[in-house]
Symmetry: D2
């Protein structure tokens, strides 16, 4: 018997950060549900707030160090649709931290039911040249 | 002497509702500032939260009455740019309420400085046919 | 007798430029139609192609002169909805050209029926400071 | 010696379809480049035009069969940034076709240089219930 995957999936219980957001008209498509590409936006909002929670503002980081984070790889599985007015919880879990990149596991859930999840790899680059560079110490030290 | 318009503009002091939001990467463009079309999204988030604050969920309204609100006219003036990580305040002020439409004045501000403002006219339509219809009583009664 | 406004509206017959585009999933919302804010994107694509048609690439203009065009005012009326897979025609008509700004009238049509129209005011600013500046001669001369 | 990955990557030479598109302001972010999530939109435009080229309109398919395609899994690697005004070529290559899903390999290139690529898995669902269903015969037969 096919179980409802969304109900039985185990949300990540050890997330480093949880960000709540609401689904608005702008997020939906003519299928009546959240447009799948927008989960990448939701995941990014959560990463941004996670960094801010750790004390890192990305505009300030760019102004002070010339470094910006860019997304280099994304893998997302869409399990169950979200709809207008839904309140979602979006998690951030650091999986790997290198000298010039980080890999995060992220989930979007609604009342504990898993809607989408994936892995996002972030690289640090020079804002002017987009060449890879080491993550600034002020960020590295947060994960030491 | 050319004053900084953003500093001297008088924000709306009698707004019916104020919604706070953060500027993320998704909101910006290659000019380094918030893409102007996105203020329509910010205004809509504020209207949605204003309605929710009044007890109206739009998905629930559609499910119970078959009515949805659509935007019929927008007028927006962009005065000063917003940037990544800015926290904005978005106001909603009801200017006119008819039987089948409403007109709202909305502003986006940063620390009290006016960034964008405009008038948004909303019409009520049948979700299936998009024909204009009276705003459901449960909403009208909120403004009686 | 309720006339179909979309059928009877007179599309602009003297447009300076016409851009064709297709409605994709990304353009729609849960109402099953094109999300209204996206007409600002459609109008901008048409303006960009109009400028390109006249020989002006905006990235090249920025690189050579430091000038970028920014949208300062928008007024749009939404008359009839567009749906997934619709092919739209988007027009550009120059209404006013000043030293530092331009005002354009734009329409979105489907098979000659008017779906949305509005006025868009564009200002020329310095890309680094966002201060208003004269439109570069290479652009002004196109409209002399 | 750090080679320019974008120059040396081998673009897919046996793509089933190639869609050309232009980068507009709406596609970029404050990094000055195309916002990574928008490659999912570019890939979808190419898939939509590929299906249309094969004779399948998705709105028409929904109206006639009640079936819609939804994206169930995406994996994208971002190799080199695209900028305003760039003209991109987006490819579609069918990798696997099942009874209720398809997997596609897609690339975004600029003048033959690989900018982004990935795998997109599409499932067929009932538009009303979002339950998986067989791909309608009119589509299956195209790949027989």
């Amino acid at each position: 018997m096919p179980a409802n995957r969304a109900q039985t999936a185990q949300p990540n219980s050890a997330a480093d950060y949880l960000h709540r957001l609401r689904v608005y008209w702008e997020d939906t498509d003519a299928g009546g549900v959240v447009f799948y590409a927008n989960y990448l936006k939701f995941f990014e909002r959560a990463r941004t707030e996670w960094l801010r929670h750790l004390g890192v503002g990305q505009q300030a980081l760019r102004d002070s160090s010339g470094a910006i984070f860019v997304v280099t790889d994304t893998q997302v599985s869409y399990r169950s649709p979200a709809r207008l007015d839904d309140e979602l919880q979006v998690t951030v879990t650091l999986q790997h931290r290198g000298n010039a990149s980080m890999t995060l596991h992220q989930q979007a859930l609604r009342n504990g039911a898993l809607l989408a999840e994936g892995q996002i790899r972030i690289g640090c680059v020079d804002a002017a040249t987009f060449r890879p560079r080491r993550i600034p110490h002020q960020v590295i030290d947060l994960f030491a």
